[in-house]
């Protein structure tokens, strides 16, 4: 899931809680569809990190597929 330019999960720290993010199950939902996926999240506040590669890659493809008529 990561690319050479992406930080590893252990590098990510929640700016609000100042604790390292951990991989965890997240329900990503959009336009009524729910996708259980594993993403880095803050164990304290639940804040989720989405990498740029994912946001502009598969996640965008899924969003556009849902938005299309």
């Amino acid at each position: 899931m990561t690319t050479p330019n992406d930080p590893t999960v252990s590098d990510l720290v929640c700016a609000r809680c100042d604790v390292p993010l951990e991989m965890g199950k997240v329900n990503a939902s959009y336009l009524g569809q729910v996708f259980p996926v594993d993403l880095p999240r803050c164990p304290s506040c639940g804040f989720v990190y989405v990498s740029e590669e994912l946001a502009y890659g598969r996640m965008l493809n899924v969003e556009q597929a849902l938005e299309d008529k």
């Binding site: 899931m1 990510l12 700016a15 991989m23 997240v26 329900n27 990503a28 939902s29 959009y30 336009l31 009524g32 569809q33 996708f35 259980p36 996926v37 594993d38 993403l39 999240r41 639940g46 804040f47 989720v48 990190y49 989405v50 990498s51 740029e52 994912l54 946001a55 502009y56 598969r58 996640m59 965008l60 493809n61 899924v62 969003e63 556009q64 597929a65 849902l66 938005e67 299309d68 008529k69």
Partner: protein, 526 residues
């Protein structure tokens, strides 16, 4: 409006006289379950034609949002009024979505029904001419889809060079509209097209037996159609089956055509039904019984599904006038049952400016904003008051719903405005057209081989794979002829043709002929 008691008045518009093509007032009305377009020419009398058989779906379609946008570039002035000033003119109300290039007027069969009036002898456009057309489209500013058409484009040995030229000029999607004979006989020719960048074969496919082809095309073609599809499967290019539906000839084969499509998935990506229109080579004035309308096609599809899908599972045209089309994407189960994909239609946000951005997900590297993002919690990120199209000229949901007032009180107010101008400032690319293009390219293109497994993101991959491999597009488009032409619809047309003199002309205007075969725009005179 004075109407007999048995008629339900539905609206006024304009049309043309089928005899002289003069623009005349027209009105829509329902009688029983059928919607008619009626008009009276002061010189040639009254004309009436059924345009929609199914009042309940008509009222449903009438509620659809009217997507409108100013052309980014116009080439003609408003002088004689629609449909006599096409080029596009400043009165047009939608940008180009798919543009047809008629690369030849030659054809290798002589169909009794042919809107292009093609024959065995004709002329090929030169590569220089085609290059000029593409430059015109590029200058008009839109990343349009290109359909190479004719005549029969595969009569040209250099068609791959044309596909390559289209690609080289930056157009993102190119399809070839063909009867399939050449690609059935010559898989190497097809492979050359694919290697040049072809995305899709738009295959004339009227039915599943030779009786249909003998009636409509004059020759038995079924084996050749099957071979063409097999070659497309081998070459890895998507196929859209395109039946021209003619009552009494193949209108009872709608289900059989879908069956054939399912048998040939995923190479066959969609079936795009086109009820017959009467322009070009038409021997007699059409009677009501010679027409089939879009809701009848939808009903036949619902019947085929044995009720597993319904009319509400189809969507009205979202970038063109709603009454010009229907479309639906359906999943095909292992037992061949069709089901609506269960995914919400485009409602909020249209085309996202970015992705994965959301207040709930909040990627660390990007600014949060509404629209285009997933949420990690329940609900949508999008608030009903936040629409990216807000403020768009005549196109925003807030500005025009069915019959509602737009930012422009009367469309005619635009007609003498300077080119490139919009009532609300500069014209901009239509989000509706972009979305329609993305839908077409996404569904009609053969999927690439699946990517490998991705840890933790299998839910995304499974969703995308299901759409690519098990989804079948079922759609229909109603072209308008001199009897059915509704100028309100024509002004929103987004399927255009580049004429030999570099004008961009809405498809139905380009092919419009009077009852004697005289054409407004087609060089051969129809």
């Amino acid at each position: 409006m004075d109407m007999p008691d048995s008629r339900l008045f539905l609206g006024e518009t304009q049309s043309v006289c089928p005899e002289c093509l003069k623009t005349i007032p027209a009105r829509r009305f329902a009688e029983g379950d059928t919607v008619f377009l009626e008009k009276v020419c002061p010189d040639h009398g009254r004309f009436s034609a059924p345009v929609w058989r199914g009042l309940s779906s008509y009222l449903l379609w009438a509620e659809a949002r009217r997507a409108e946008a100013r052309p980014l570039l116009t080439a003609t002035e408003v002088k004689d009024g629609c449909p006599h000033d096409c080029g596009l003119c400043p009165g047009h109300r939608q940008q180009s979505c798919c543009v047809l290039l008629e690369v030849t007027s030659r054809c290798d069969i002589a169909c009794p029904v042919c809107f292009a009036n093609a024959g065995r002898h004709g002329r090929d456009a030169s590569l220089e001419e085609i290059s000029g057309w593409l430059d015109t489209l590029a200058a008009a500013g839109g990343p349009v889809h290109i359909q190479l058409s004719g005549g029969e484009p595969t009569t040209r040995d250099d068609l791959a060079d044309i596909v390559r030229l289209v690609r080289a000029k930056g157009f993102g999607f190119v399809q070839v509209n063909t009867n399939g004979l050449r690609i059935a006989r010559d898989p190497n020719y097809l492979q050359g097209l694919v290697e040049a960048g072809l995305d899709c074969i738009f295959l004339q496919f009227d039915g599943v037996d030779d009786g249909v082809y003998r009636a409509l095309r004059g020759v038995p073609l079924m084996k050749m159609k099957a071979r063409a599809i097999a070659n497309c499967r081998e070459a890895g290019v998507g196929v859209v089956l395109v039946p021209t539906l003619v009552p009494g000839v193949n209108s009872r084969q709608i289900g059989a055509i879908v069956d054939f499509a399912i048998d040939n998935m995923p190479a066959v990506r969609a079936v795009h039904f086109q009820p017959v229109s009467y322009f070009g080579r038409v021997p007699h004035e059409p009677t009501d019984e010679m027409r089939i309308t879009l809701p009848e096609v939808m009903e036949a599809l619902v019947d085929y599904s044995k009720g597993s899908i319904g009319i509400p599972d189809f969507n009205p045209g979202s970038a063109e006038n709603p009454f010009c089309s229907f479309s639906g994407r359906f999943f095909v189960a292992a037992d061949r049952t069709l089901s609506a994909d269960g995914e919400a239609p485009a409602s909020c946000c249209g085309v996202p400016a970015g992705a994965g951005e959301d207040t709930a997900v909040a990627p660390a590297h990007q600014e949060s904003k509404c629209c285009g993002g997933h949420t990690a919690t329940e609900g949508s990120c999008c608030d009903a008051n936040t629409h990216e199209r807000k403020g768009e000229c005549c196109g925003g949901e807030e500005q025009r719903k069915s019959g509602g007032e737009t930012c422009c009180k009367e469309s005619v107010e635009h007609e003498n405005e300077p080119r490139h101008a919009s009532c609300c400032g500069s014209a901009k690319a239509s989000a509706d057209v972009a979305r329609a293009q993305r839908y077409v390219s996404g569904q009609w293109t053969r999927p690439s081989p699946s990517a490998g497994p991705s840890d933790g993101l299998e839910a995304f991959d499974a969703f995308l794979a299901r759409r690519e491999r098990r989804a079948l597009g079922l759609s229909g488009m109603a072209f308008q002829d001199a009897w059915t032409l509704d100028i309100e619809r024509l002004r929103q047309c987004h399927i255009h043709v580049v004429s030999p003199d570099n004008r961009v002309i809405p498809f139905c205007a380009f092919n419009l002929t009077d009852r004697n075969g005289r054409s407004l725009y087609r060089p051969s005179g129809g």
